[in-house]
């Protein structure tokens, strides 16, 4: 039976995970799975977009080799800060997605917002 795209993605992901810190060559992925390099690249791109995998180009014996590794989250930069929103009651409100004009919960009638606005005056 032919494998679906998500099954191929899953197998590629498990191969990369098995390789651990050493990583695995992208070229080897297509060889192991018996798929074309284009198909392997498409699946790898999808995994990268999902944040599961990262790729790194290195030079081995004078040749450029693309290595694949499991994504590590230690290097993420926190750009957005919470400083200016943490005291606004909407920040911790579970109903924020339901809060709108004419709805049962609305910014006009919200008691938490009333309190927040009046408290600072």
């Amino acid at each position: 039976m032919e494998s679906t795209a998500s099954q191929i993605e899953e197998i590629i992901y498990s191969k990369i995970r098995q390789a651990g810190e050493k990583g695995i060559k992208q070229a080897d992925v297509s060889k192991i799975l018996g798929i074309s390099s284009a198909e392997a690249a498409r699946n790898v791109t999808r995994l990268i977009r999902k944040g599961l995998v990262r790729k790194e180009a290195t030079i081995v014996d004078g040749k450029k080799v693309v290595m694949l590794y499991i994504a590590n989250n230690d290097n993420i930069d926190i750009i957005a800060n919470l400083g200016n929103i943490i005291d606004i009651p909407c920040f911790s409100c579970k109903l924020i997605n339901k809060c709108q004009n004419g709805s049962h919960v609305s910014p006009q009638s919200c008691n938490k917002m009333n309190r927040w606005l009046i408290e600072a005056l």
Binding site: R17, A80, N84, F91, K94, P107
Partner: protein, 175 residues
């Protein structure tokens, strides 16, 4: 635990409460995808409770799932993981949602005249006050005019700050 992991847990705790922290912390600790039943076994919780928590976390973007079909049963299997790499977008989306609410509130404050009860501090729009003959519907005290200029000023300040922050942070995160 890295600063990104701490921030994700802090946000989840603020927004969804303490009940979601065990599941989220486990997913962060494992650094890999987990099935809901594995999470339930690991934490000694009912699978339904784990699913409920996972859906709550997913609604806010703190976790994401991948779906595959079980070859034997034909049922879908969901693999869950912490959405750490999207932390900036999670915060930015929250900021955009808050900004929208503040703008709606400012619009409301700007397009209405308010009257307040000096006894219980309840606030009414002109229409509400008129309907009640400018008497508090709760205690019957006369309503007096309420100047909302300071409230509007506070809202304008926050909106301006938030708009600036969102623009800068969106630009920085797309670089």
């Amino acid at each position: 635990m890295s600063s990104v992991e701490e921030l994700l847990i802090k946000m989840a705790k603020e927004i969804l409460g303490d009940d979601v922290i065990d599941v989220l912390s486990l997913l962060i600790k494992r650094r890999e995808e987990m099935k809901d039943e594995d999470i339930a076994n690991e934490l000694n919780l009912k699978i339904n409770d784990v699913r409920k928590v996972l859906y709550m976390l997913a609604e806010q973007g703190f976790v994401i799932s991948r779906r595959t079909r079980d070859k034997d049963t034909g049922w879908y299997i969901y693999f869950w993981r912490a959405n750490l790499e999207q932390i900036n977008n999670i915060i930015l989306n929250r900021k955009r949602a808050i900004l929208e609410k503040l703008k709606l509130r400012l619009e409301f404050e700007s397009s209405n005249t308010f009257y307040v009860c000096n006894n219980d501090y309840a606030r009414y729009t002109f229409d509400e006050a008129f309907e009640n003959q400018f008497k508090c519907p709760r205690c019957g005290s006369p309503l007096s005019y309420y100047d909302s200029e300071k409230v509007k000023e506070r809202l304008r300040e926050r909106i301006e700050k938030l708009e600036e922050e969102i623009a800068n942070e969106t630009k920085a995160s797309s670089n």
